[in-house]
């Protein structure tokens, strides 16, 4: 069809086809990504008879090319002639599903799942199911792992005889010799269970689940945990106790910490799946054990779940369970030996206050917060501070501030600059939570102190912090509290501090608005143009460029321009450069052609010196 249009339209396609085999991977990749264009030009007939057979055999290529190919083929149905011919796509995807690279296989399986939906029920049994069976009984583990992901998509749409065969194949793979296949089966067990009839879930899936959950390989057992959660959602409440719980209980006490970690990690899903009764009787003690686990990784995972677990406890007994069972464990975790455990706990512990209410928070939680606020690891303290808003809602910040402030001051003066940097980043958040009055009283001086920190990164973050504070508290507040102090630094004997004034002005001019900038800041900047240190002078030039847009044109003409012109004749090369840059930009923005010419002349002057 496409050929009839003449040679001109053939050429780009011919290039694309030839580049399918180019030595340069990037060109091959580009070509593969335009595979639909090639197929469109060839027409459906030639795509089926020539292009697809060629692609079926090109499995030697680089992973990224194969990955792109696997993805393309998933949406190729139209290009081979619609659903009637969709089975033509099976051979290339089948060979891609057997390559050793996991990402490619996964993508091929994904595409196969996609096109399985486009098969008619007859085609599914004639073409698709045989492919799944071939993969499932393949010689290499790669094809068998791919098969695991395909059972669930064809099962609902085939006859009962084929269904029985599919179940049999899945069973076989669950007891495969290689751990790789058992892992694949274990991870797809939940997905497969979802499409099975309930009777078969009980008769087929449960034994498989039990077997995989007691596999000799840790990596298989830990994947079975997730399957257990999915299976539990499928079963009626009365069957859970007999069919799933013994295995899950065993997983929570597995010898391998990785399996227990998995249980801890999936705890909220598990809790949702088994319902309130089993949660009360089984999961609470299990959760307590996980919080007390001997392996820190497990405790960390469990600590992360404390809030979600408590939130989802049945309402009638929530408070009792938390107070009698969970809180004692949490208290121990607060003084855990491992910093990651404490840090995980610190990131969720504040959330408990909304669940427990004001009185319990004050009585039981506040002491824990305070311990964590004084923790030796800054990450723990930061996690507490960054979640203060939860507690704020329950008991108000005043109550917290007494104990909070010393901890913040301590962090603000920490010897490690990265810690100081982190706390600066929380300042705007804290300011919002504490309110302007409290801020002025306690924290303002800290923010100003950071401006003269000896680490540049801190000074830089501090200027940025000021900007955010002004955004929160408004220009008027800035004029009264911050601006005088910042401008005062312009007379400092240390040139680094004088430069900080300029950086602050850079950051603040926009949020403070034209009036403050013109009236208060500009005179200071202009005055600094005669500074004895060249770095300050060229930063004046840069600063003027930055605040230019905020100023009105009369100020630009009357005050800024003369200063820039003077700087443009400065002794120092850099000062001159920045002054000129500023000059050019401002003139271009005024669209003055004559000025532009002037600038170019100035530039020439500058470089000829």
């Amino acid at each position: 069809m496409a050929g009839a249009e003449g040679d001109d339209s053939l050429y780009p396609i011919a290039v694309l086809i030839d580049e399918l085999r180019n030595e340069d991977v990037q060109l091959r990749l580009n070509s593969i990504k335009k595979l639909s264009t090639i197929a469109l030009a060839l027409g459906v007939e030639r795509t089926r008879t020539e292009l697809l057979p060629f692609l079926t055999d090109t499995i030697y290529d680089e992973d990224e090319v194969l990955l792109a190919l696997a993805e393309q083929l998933g949406s190729f149905t139209v290009l081979v002639g619609g659903p009637e011919f969709v089975h033509c796509l099976l051979p290339p995807l089948e060979s891609l599903a057997t390559v050793e690279e996991t990402v490619v296989r996964d993508k091929a399986v994904e595409s196969l799942q996609k096109i399985s939906q486009e098969h008619s029920p007859v085609d599914l049994e004639v073409h698709f199911v045989p492919l799944v069976k071939r993969l499932a009984s393949g010689d290499w583990f790669t094809s068998r792992t791919s098969a695991c992901g395909l059972f669930s998509v064809c099962y609902p749409r085939v006859s009962s005889t084929v269904k029985a065969e599919i179940r049999q194949h899945f069973r076989t793979l669950c007891s495969d010799d290689t751990p790789m296949v058992r892992r694949a089966a274990s991870s797809k067990l939940g997905e497969f269970a979802k499409v099975l009839e309930l009777d078969y879930v009980k008769s087929d899936i449960i034994p498989l689940f039990t077997a995989l959950a007691s596999d000799e390989q840790d990596s298989v057992r830990l994947l079975a945990v997730e399957a257990g959660v999915s299976i539990a959602t499928l079963l009626p409440q009365e069957d859970l106790e007999d069919l799933v719980m013994p295995t899950l209980r065993q997983a929570a006490e597995d010898k391998s910490w990785r399996v227990r970690y998995m249980v801890a990690d999936k705890f909220s899903e598990l809790q949702k799946a088994v319902g309130p009764e089993i949660t009360k009787n089984d999961l609470v003690p299990a959760f307590q054990n996980l919080l007390k686990d001997c392996e820190a990784e497990v405790r960390t995972a469990a600590a992360n779940k404390v809030k979600v677990f408590c939130e989802s406890l049945p309402e009638d007994s929530r408070e009792t369970i938390i107070m009698t069972h969970i809180l004692p464990c949490v208290k121990e975790l607060v003084s855990d030996t491992n910093q990651h455990v404490k840090s995980a706990l610190a990131s969720v512990i504040m959330g408990l206050s909304t669940i427990l209410g004001k009185d319990n928070t004050v009585e039981h939680l506040l002491p824990l917060f305070l311990v964590q606020l004084k923790d030796e690891y800054p990450e723990v303290r930061l996690n507490i501070i960054s979640n203060l808003d939860c507690v704020n809602e329950v008991i108000g910040i005043r109550q917290l501030s007494q104990s909070l402030l010393p901890a913040i001051v301590e962090l603000a003066e920490d010897a490690k600059w990265r810690v100081r940097l982190a706390i600066i980043e929380y300042m705007p958040l804290l300011a919002g939570q504490l309110g302007v009055e409290f801020f002025d009283e306690k924290l303002n001086s800290l923010c100003m102190a950071w401006l003269i920190d000896h680490v540049y990164a801190i000074r830089e973050a501090a200027t940025c912090n000021l900007m955010k504070l002004v955004e929160k508290f408004g220009a008027e507040w800035a004029q009264n509290t911050i601006v005088p102090k910042v401008l005062g630094m312009a007379n400092d004997s240390n040139y680094l501090h004088r430069m900080t004034t300029l950086f602050c002005i850079n950051a603040l001019s926009e949020v403070c608005g034209q009036e403050i900038t013109t009236k208060h800041m500009l005179p200071v900047v202009l005055k600094m143009s005669t500074d004895q240190v060249a770095n300050v002078r060229f930063n004046v030039a840069r600063c003027l460029q930055k605040i230019g847009p905020v100023l009105d044109s009369s100020a630009l003409q009357a005050d800024v321009k003369p200063v820039l012109e003077k700087l443009a004749t400065d002794q120092d090369m850099d000062v001159k450069y920045f002054a000129l840059e500023r000059e050019i930009l401002s003139l271009i923005s005024m669209r003055v052609c004559k000025g532009l010419f002037l600038c170019i002349t100035l530039l020439f002057n500058c470089f000829s010196i």
């Binding site: 053939l10 399918l20 060629f54 290499w140």
Partner: protein, 463 residues
């Protein structure tokens, strides 16, 4: 001395190995490893090259593929040269028709894929087969390339590079039985990797003390158990071997078992610690035993008994009086490897003068054989050698004083199923085969049927 006595009583050999291949890679061979089926054998050398041999149906091994795995590098941060020498090669279990192996130098581990290609695409639209541009006016239809058979081409391509995880020199790599992870060990740490993830590894053992002056031992070898994915063994320069259970905790600093033989105080000398340093550890194929090699002996440990080995074999006890000169020539620090045969009934390890030793565990017979160009005539059966301390008993005996300590066999490998062995002697690779294989009906006594008689074994605690 028991070991020496056993040696001299040995009248006949229990293997009749004949020589089937000598190959001379350009550089000194630094590691030898059979794959899981024994069909392939890989060697790594000092020049960073990997050579793979394939066994032909007739039983011969021929070069299958050669590639440069590592190049010399320079660590600018520490001003250190990183040699390209391949320290270890480990094959991955078979995935698909391609073969995969891990090769490591001191710092970087690479995963290689060795695959065959026998088809190539033909038919370009805009060029002819010689690559000349076609006259565009002749291009009137689109041509889809077709694949045509071609001569077999073996390609080796690097699939993953696992770098920047070791501060010290990597001495071991070992693939886990879960086929998903592997470990790499350097002097002070053991890291666990996922084979698919190159930018992250987990530290599972860390012997580095806070203060390096407190350093008392270094890790010499580490290996995973062949069947239990959670068990790993590592040995140290103090002569101990530790077994760790990765189920117990994420950091395996606490060992599950410690295999150590109490030192005989009467033998204590300046060299005691040096010669007790373990240079190789191998789990038996059955997974029940550990084989360790130190300077003078090989020992077999039952995993269920920590306080002493179940068997100890003297490799070259006659060197005990020569430790002083061996120390001066640095030979005392040579790291000999050891190997099990396929049925765990025979042990092999290297020695000096191009000799290597074999010990039959059931019959207690042992033999010394020599791998050298002079004796390796094609299909000639290897004759046993004898080293004598005093006067020569026979013409062929070799006196201890005439041993050549520059000729040493450090790296050996045994075919996983058959009695085929690969011996690396400086830059020569020798492959020998027992006369009665490949049918495999040699009457090698099976160790399982008769445990060594001299040792009374307590009821093993269940592990």
């Amino acid at each position: 001395e028991a070991g020496v006595g056993g040696f001299y009583q040995n009248k006949k050999t229990f293997f009749s190995f004949f020589f089937i291949l000598v190959c001379d890679p350009a550089d000194v061979i630094s590691t030898v490893e059979f794959n899981q089926t024994g069909e392939f054998l890989a060697t790594g050398d000092k020049g960073g090259r990997v050579v793979i041999f394939q066994r032909e149906p007739q039983g011969e091994y021929n070069v299958y593929s050669t590639f440069q795995s590592h190049e010399p590098e320079f660590d600018y941060l520490k001003s250190l040269e990183i040699e390209e020498r391949i320290n270890k090669i480990r094959w991955l279990p078979l995935h698909n028709p391609a073969h995969f192996l891990l090769a490591t130098n001191d710092k970087t581990i690479k995963l290689w894929k060795v695959s065959e290609r026998d088809k190539r695409a033909e038919g370009y639209n805009l060029r002819d087969e010689e690559g000349r541009l076609k006259d565009l006016s002749t291009v009137t239809t689109l041509q889809v390339p077709v694949l045509r058979p071609m001569d077999l081409l073996v390609e080796a391509s690097p699939r993953r590079v696992f770098a920047n995880a070791h501060a010290y020199h990597i001495n071991s790599i070992s693939v886990n039985s879960d086929c998903e992870t592997y470990l790499s060990a350097d002097d002070l740490r053991i890291n666990l990797w996922n084979l698919n993830i190159t930018d992250r590894s987990f530290n599972i053992v860390d012997l580095k003390p806070e203060n390096m002056e407190d350093l008392s031992e270094v890790i010499t070898v580490a290996e995973f158990h062949p069947h239990h994915c959670h068990l790993l063994a590592f040995s140290s320069s103090t002569g101990t071997t530790r077994l760790c259970d990765m189920r117990a905790s994420a950091l395996c600093d606490q060992h599950a078992k410690l295999f150590e033989e109490a030192a005989d105080p009467s033998h204590r000398s300046f060299f005691s610690e040096i010669v007790s340093s373990v240079s190789d550890v191998k789990f038996s194929h059955s997974g029940r035993y550990l084989l360790t090699r130190d300077y003078l002996t090989v020992k077999v440990w039952d995993l269920n008994m920590e306080n002493k080995p179940v068997e100890t074999y003297q490799v070259h006890d006659y060197l005990r009086t020569k430790l002083c000169s061996l120390y001066e020539s640095d030979c005392i620090f040579d790291k000999f490897e050891c190997a099990w045969n396929g049925t765990d009934s025979v042990i092999m390890t290297g020695a000096y003068n191009n000799y290597f030793r074999m010990f039959d565990r059931a019959s207690l017979r042992d033999v010394t054989l020599e791998a050298s160009r002079e004796v390796c005539k094609r299909r000639a059966v290897l004759q046993p050698r004898r080293v004598c301390v005093g006067k020569k008993q026979k013409e062929t005996d070799v006196s201890v004083d005439s041993l050549d300590f520059r000729k040493k066999i450090l790296h050996t490998a045994w075919h996983p199923k058959e009695n085929i062995i690969a011996i690396a002697a400086s830059n020569n690779l020798y492959i020998f085969q027992d006369r009665l294989t490949p049918n495999g009906h040699h009457n090698t006594p099976e160790i399982q049927s008769a445990p060594p008689k001299w040792q009374t074994q307590p009821n093993p605690p269940t592990y």
